[in-house]
């Protein structure tokens, strides 16, 4: 009986979450398509995205709807609450990531092993789109021919080529980014990924056939909408999309600080080979 009640409570929670989700999706449109972003100061007529931005989203814990969850007890014994993840409404349009059935098993395995294998724990380059919604700020440096996005996490960065299409030299953790403007929206096609990066701490993943189409749309002086359409025929049955609002950090004299996380990951990665 208690289980049934629990299950019922869970469903109420889910439908509440769905309602909140719908509401937040509606709210996100405030400012909306009629908002016209300020232009760059040098008169090229493009919207000015320069600044420091950050997502305030549960996306990095799990792209899909999820209740709060803890870590294995061996982890919680050391970390306490810090080892737990907050619940959150999902950011996937339609709610579910369309995994191929065989790929779901890998995702499940990733989730079970996440406290040793999530690339974030290891200070690896986070890849796209994850770099955008990690709980760290990132900075956009929009110049004349290139847009540089530099992320506080693991001092990673990527150059978006706006002046010409530049092919990738080799597959990369951060992929290869070629961009264009569609009205006030910056559209970036990201290709040539390696397969090692994940989308979140819940083990959502991709293969080396990942392609991401990103859309950055200014919605007010203080926020823009980030949409990423994800395609990977090896892992998913079709394309799917996430939507995450990004907020401008407005603190005076703010700058990205160093988060060179290599020293924070070495115990985890190399600890087994330390001299006892």
């Amino acid at each position: 009986m208690r289980n049934k009640l629990h299950a019922a409570g869970c469903c109420v929670a889910v439908s509440l979450a769905v309602t909140v989700l719908t509401m937040s999706a509606a709210l996100a449109q405030v400012g909306g398509p009629e908002y016209k972003a300020p232009r760059t100061s040098w008169g090229d007529g493009k919207p000015d995205l320069n600044g420091i931005w950050q997502a305030m989203s549960p996306a990095n814990w799990d792209l899909e709807d999820h209740a709060s969850y803890g870590a294995p007890s061996s982890v919680l014994a050391v970390t306490g609450t810090v080892g737990a993840s907050p619940g959150g409404y999902g950011v996937v349009d339609g709610g579910k990531i369309p995994y191929k059935p065989e790929a779901l098993a890998q995702r499940k395995q990733n989730f079970e092993n996440r406290w040793t294998t999530d690339p974030e724990l290891k200070c690896w380059a986070p890849g796209i789109p994850r770099a955008t919604y990690l709980p760290y700020p990132f900075q956009i440096l929009q110049s004349t021919t290139k847009i540089l996005m530099t992320y506080e996490f693991a001092k990673s960065s990527r150059t978006i080529h706006m002046d010409k299409k530049v092919p990738a030299p080799v597959p990369q953790y951060m992929g290869q980014s070629n961009g264009r403007w569609e009205g006030d929206t910056l559209v970036v096609e990201v290709t040539d990924f390696r397969e090692e990066t994940w989308f979140d701490r819940a083990g959502n993943y991709h293969s080396d056939e990942l392609r991401v189409t990103e859309r950055f749309t200014p919605s007010s002086p203080y926020h823009m909408m980030y949409e990423a359409t994800i395609q990977d025929p090896k892992v998913f049955t079709g394309p799917w999309k996430i939507t995450v609002p990004l907020y401008r950090r407005v603190e005076r004299n703010l700058q990205l600080l160093e988060f060179n996380c290599v020293p924070f990951s070495e115990d985890l990665i190399y600890g087994q080979w330390k001299r006892r």
Binding site: L141, T159, H161, Y270, W273
Partner: protein, 353 residues
């Protein structure tokens, strides 16, 4: 005057002109400007061409900042041999690859030192105070290392082995490969990216104060301003440590990081050249200021290769697991007194390795 003499004089004049151009302090070239008026130093630049030039001028080249003719030929030949030796050594230990993988191969800079001031191409003598500091540093280092082996833990390895960093300003100086820097400019910031090890410095131009002294970083905290056509970058807030492996600049030893302030200058002196200078003006450490200079050449590249060092650092796994296997096979290793580099060992700082 015979035709041959005329030709010789002409060649000599060209060589002199070339040296004057190289060492000129105030270039007359007017660099292209960005729409907001700043000189345009955007793009990818490489220090490859300076590969093999010693930091300080060897004694045999006293008064010869630039070589020519037969002397230059011999110098380049010797440099290649030295490079091959280094590459073979490194490759043999770590499997880093054959000689021809290295981008220093076939570079023909005729300069005899990267130091351009003082004019003798040598770092000036250290002050007595700095020597005392250095001795103290060495003592602390010895106490800290104790009888640790070379690979008891990752912490016994250099910062570069660990994929943490290549130091400032060492990151700008040529190493075996990947000697590329990308510059992106906006009206309010300049970003300097280094391929090795995917470093990004986003430098504000608005004259804001430095970070609080409580915030110390591997790459410090940089501020920049345009002084005519020269971008002047001033960096402070370096991490505080006496570990020589964390030496924060080329030849910075003897200086405590708290007081450490690095001045870098970037000047586009021709369409395909940015002159890069670092100046150390620290009267507590050196008897006079000194300056090292590199000519960075424009690369046709549109971007830097992704140098994902830490992600693929199987070298570290192999170094540590190999050491454990060796100890198992030879337990005497567990009790031996370790032989460690002293902080004054120049090889620890050699940016070429």
């Amino acid at each position: 005057m015979s035709r041959r003499t005329v030709a010789f004089v002409a060649v000599l004049a060209l060589a002199v002109l070339a040296s004057v151009r190289l060492l000129a302090q105030t270039p007359s070239f007017s660099p292209p400007k960005l729409p907001w008026g700043h000189p345009d130093i955007q793009g990818v630049w490489t220090s490859d061409e300076e590969s093999g030039v010693p930091f300080e001028r060897p004694a045999q080249f006293a008064n010869k900042p630039i070589l020519e003719g037969k002397e230059l030929e011999d110098y380049l030949k010797r440099r290649e041999l030295e490079r091959a030796r280094t590459a073979n050594f490194g490759g043999g230990i770590t499997g880093a690859g054959p000689v021809h993988w290295y981008e220093w191969w076939g570079r023909k800079s005729a300069r005899t030192s990267l130091i351009v001031d003082p004019p003798d191409g040598k770092i000036p003598p250290m002050t007595a105070e700095a020597k005392a500091r250095e001795a103290q540093m060495e003592k602390e280092w010895a106490a800290k290392v104790g009888d640790r082996g070379p690979a008891d833990s990752w912490e016994d390895r250099e910062l570069w082995d660990r994929c943490i960093m290549r130091n400032l300003a060492g990151v700008m100086f040529p190493g075996g490969y990947g000697n590329n820097a990308q510059i992106v400019q906006t009206p309010t910031h300049v970003a300097i990216l280094n391929e090795m090890i995917h470093e990004v410095r986003v430098i504000p131009l608005d004259g804001r104060p430095h970070l609080s002294p409580a915030v110390r970083q591997w790459y410090g905290d940089s501020r920049a301003r345009w002084d005519g056509n020269t971008l002047v970058v001033e960096t402070t807030n370096f991490k505080d440590t006496t570990d020589p492996r964390m030496d924060i600049s080329v030849r910075n030893r003897g200086s405590w990081p708290e007081s450490f302030r690095l001045i870098e200058k970037f000047t586009r002196v021709s369409p395909d050249t940015v002159r890069y200078e670092i100046t150390r003006d620290d009267p507590k450490t050196w008897t006079r200021p000194w300056t090292a200079m590199l000519e960075l050449k424009k690369s046709p590249a549109e971007y830097l290769f992704e140098y994902a060092c830490h992600e693929g650092n199987i070298g570290m796994e192999n170094i540590l697991s190999g050491a454990r296997v060796e100890e198992k096979e030879n337990p005497a290793l567990l009790t031996r007194k370790a032989v460690r580099k002293s902080p004054n060992d120049d090889s620890a700082e050699n940016p070429d390795r």
